[in-house]
């Protein structure tokens, strides 16, 4: 954890780590059972996928009737259970557990559908690669309401401690190159903008696309700030880059697409950083769906009561309540925090010190915003104090002298407002 420096006059400098800090590369053996999380909410009546169904590695599994939502099995085996999983803010997922068989068989549906890189179509990408490592935002390309005209390939990692994209750029630049040309053919979008950190510039420019350099301090690599500082387009408050025609895709996702067409196989392993209690990092590769506990076992990490497991980076990730939580397609890091290292969140009031206001990259007057949010005045917060301008970097909570959960206040306010708006829309 990076602490406040003695000289507190300047803003905290949280630098994105480089890949050199994450030396060892550990391959996790396939687990006995893996779990895939589908974005569809659990609904027993509409289940298409049946228990005991036999699945092959790389096989696309449609989960529900009348829905094109799918997962891709990362192993060969038998579906052992299909259940509900409730994530942050009560979001419902469908958890599909697969018991792994001894012999692995590779599914060839994608191979016969895809053909070579040259005849890649948007349909194939959309139908097979939504569950590939890095979470390619394939749905956006065919979304009629979005009309994407620019693709930003982000080679830098957006949160701290993460080095997945850096690793892919270093080890698999050809796959990225291939993925970009497939994306161009499939989407017919030729405006590709690469975004890379200083150390990656040389390597990334070899691809031949336009490369822009992103600052190496957090939160420069978050999409909203890349939009503002590099593309010169400010995303309107409450909107996402795709709403103004820009689609962000990570280097890892591009490489997944490239590799899929190259090998005729949907990639099923995820590369992520594992941060141990002592802060040491290692790069880990595991099948999608591998329970975190198997990774801890392989790396000799013991967990105690009241420790914390975080999926994602330290600023924007989310903590999970089970050691068996599976690696997902967008899991870029798993961080283990010892209970003694968990910063205390307090119910102390804001003292108006202004640290959050100075650190906010979105120029929000956080000190006033948080007063309104604490009182539950969400609409006023949105109207007068720029709730929707928040780009969710978490720096306000990071610097808060009172230890207030400011970021969580903001997220729950957005969630509650969203819920109220949906209710209004449905009830007329």
């Amino acid at each position: 954890m990076i602490k406040r420096s003695f000289i507190g006059l300047s803003k905290p400098r949280l630098e994105y780590g480089s890949l050199e800090d994450t030396p060892s590369f550990k391959q996790i053996p396939t687990s006995k059972e893996i779990t895939l999380l589908s974005n569809s909410p659990f609904d027993k009546k509409k289940l298409l996928l049946k228990k005991k169904a036999v699945v092959k590695t790389g096989q696309k599994l449609l989960v529900y009737k009348e829905s094109d939502e799918y997962v891709v099995s990362s192993v060969t085996g038998k579906v052992s259970s299909i259940s509900s999983y409730i994530g942050d803010f009560g979001r419902s997922y469908t958890a599909i557990a697969i018991e792994v068989a001894d012999d692995e068989e590779i599914d060839d549906e994608f191979k016969s559908a895809a053909g070579g890189s040259k005849d890649a179509t948007l349909e194939t990408v959309k139908n097979f690669l939504a569950f590939a490592p890095g979470n390619p935002p394939v749905k956006l390309f065919s979304d009629k309401n979005k009309s994407i005209n620019t693709i930003v390939v982000c080679c830098a990692d957006s949160d701290l401690l993460i080095s997945t994209n850096q690793h892919v750029v270093k080890s698999d630049i050809d796959a990225i190159k291939n993925g970009i040309s497939i994306l161009k053919t499939a989407t017919k979008i030729n405006n590709i903008i690469m975004v890379a950190s200083q150390s990656q510039m040389l390597k990334v420019s070899a691809i031949g696309e336009k490369v822009n350099q992103v600052n190496d301090t957090y939160p420069s690599a978050l999409p909203h700030l890349i939009m503002k500082n590099i593309l010169g387009k400010v995303v309107p408050a409450g909107k996402n880059p795709e709403d103004i025609g820009v689609c962000f895709i990570s280097a890892e996702a591009v490489a997944s697409i490239g590799n899929a067409f190259n090998s005729g196989q949907i990639p099923v392993t995820k590369i992520f950083t594992l941060v141990k209690k002592d802060g040491s990092k290692s790069l880990v590769s595991a099948r999608i769906g591998t329970p975190a506990s198997d990774i801890f076992k392989a790396l000799n990490i013991t967990l105690n009561e009241n420790d914390r497991i975080i999926f994602g980076g330290p600023m924007t990730g989310s903590s999970v309540y089970s050691g068996d939580h599976p690696v997902q397609t967008d899991t870029d890091a798993i961080i283990v925090q010892d209970r003694d290292d968990i910063p205390v969140i307090s119910d102390y009031p804001c003292t108006n010190c202004g640290d959050c206001v100075r650190v906010c990259p979105a120029n929000i007057q956080v000190d006033m915003l948080v007063r309104l949010l604490e009182g539950g005045h969400y609409e006023e917060a949105a109207d007068q104090y720029d709730l929707y301008s928040c780009i969710e970097c978490g720096l306000c909570s990071y610097v808060c002298v009172s230890g207030m959960p400011i970021f969580q206040y903001i997220r729950s306010a957005k969630y509650e407002l969203g819920r109220a708006n949906t209710a209004e829309a449905t009830n007329g």
Binding site: M1, I2, K3, R4, F6, I7, G8, L9, P12, T35, S81, S83, Y85, D88, A97, H224, V235, P236, A237, G238, N304, N306, D307, I309, I310, P314, M315, T316, G317, S319, V320, Y321, S322, G323, D324, I335, Q337, R339, I342, P343, Y348, P349, C350, N352, G354, D355, V357, A362, N363, Q365, D386, S389, L395, S397, Y398, V399, C400, V401, S402, F407
Partner: protein, 324 residues
């Protein structure tokens, strides 16, 4: 989650992002403020001896006790650990003459902690700087006790034991001719226990600015406001109005700039508002000193600017993505 039959013995902490914190704490901030004020207090103690120790100690302890008692009575959590009450007591003591009677100190900390802070809801909720509120009320109620010349009559030093601002008010510019900047900075003037050692206050202020505990914009713009206003007065009529040096280094100016005006809760946080707030307080200070009835204007100037702080903070930069 996945398999309900599995026995998961460990319960983990599930909370929300971010999972890091920079480690800053209210108590650390307050103890640093105490540290920064120490040089000024020490010189006050060297000059005024045990009575000064008595006033400062009584002030700090009674402030803490008032906070403890009030929180107890109102059945709220005990907050004396955050150091805020201690700082209020300390700063209040620093503003008093060393001869302040015990009841004045105890009454003053009551006003500061209970009326100035707690009745608004405690730390962070006070619209005015609690210390300044207390001094203002006591100063109006017991004017004589704050007459530093009278209060410190029995002290005899190797320098002119005169409260420069009172001399200036009553006898004109010629009365303060004997004061030079060096002497004033070294505390060779009459005044509050911890408010005369200019050099110590400046050093403490710079320390707090570097640590990011007080906002430099407020402190510097306050001093700039005092300097410029005093200079303008002085240039229009140098026979009636003293130059900026006296105004900067006498009275409560320096302690006001670094320790009073910068109180978090009652001052703005945006850049331009901080400058307006600081300059405004500096301007009002000299205005009150030069053409008002009070000897020192710092206290009332800060109170008035505290009042404007929420309004000033409406001047804010445009958030990204905001249309208007």
């Amino acid at each position: 989650m996945v398999d309900n039959n599995m026995v998961d013995t460990n319960k983990f902490i599930v909370s929300h992002a971010p999972f890091w914190h920079d480690g800053s704490k209210i108590s650390t901030r307050n103890y640093n403020i105490a540290l920064a004020a120490l040089p000024a207090i020490l010189l006050g103690i060297i000059f005024y001896g045990m009575p000064a120790v008595g006033v400062i100690s009584l002030s700090i302890s009674s402030a803490i006790i008032w906070e403890f008692v009030f929180r107890r009575v109102t059945k709220r959590s005990n907050t004396i650990g955050d150091g805020s009450a201690a700082i209020i007591g300390m700063l209040f003591g620093m503003l008093l003459p060393a001869t302040a009677p015990w009841w004045l100190v105890i009454l003053g900390t009551f006003v500061a902690v209970v009326i100035g802070k707690q009745i608004y809801g405690g730390i962070g909720a006070n619209p005015f700087n609690p210390v300044v509120v207390a001094i203002a009320i006591l100063m109006i109620s017991w004017k004589d006790l704050f007459d530093f010349n009278e209060a410190l009559m029995n002290y005899d030093f190797d320098f002119a034991m005169v409260y420069p601002l009172a001399a200036l008010k009553h006898f004109g510019v010629s009365a303060v001719d004997s004061f030079n900047a060096g002497d004033l900075l070294m505390g060779k003037q009459s005044g509050g226990i911890g408010s005369t050692f200019g050099l110590g206050l400046i050093a403490g202020g710079i320390y707090l600015i570097i640590r990011g505990i007080i906002r430099w914009e407020i402190a510097l713009s306050f001093l700039a406001g005092v300097f410029i206003t005093a200079l303008i007065f002085n240039m229009t009529d140098s026979a009636r109005y003293a130059g900026p040096v006296i105004h900067l280094f006498a009275g409560y100016t320096l302690i006001g700039a670094f320790f009073l005006a910068t109180e978090d809760s009652s001052s703005p946080v945006n850049f331009i508002p901080m400058l307006i707030y600081g300059v405004g307080a500096g301007f009002l200070t000299v205005l009150i000193r030069n053409i008002g009835v009070y000897v020192d204007g710092v206290i009332f100037a800060i109170l008035i600017m505290n009042l404007t702080s929420p309004l000033l903070d409406k001047i804010k930069p445009k958030a990204i993505g905001k249309a208007a």
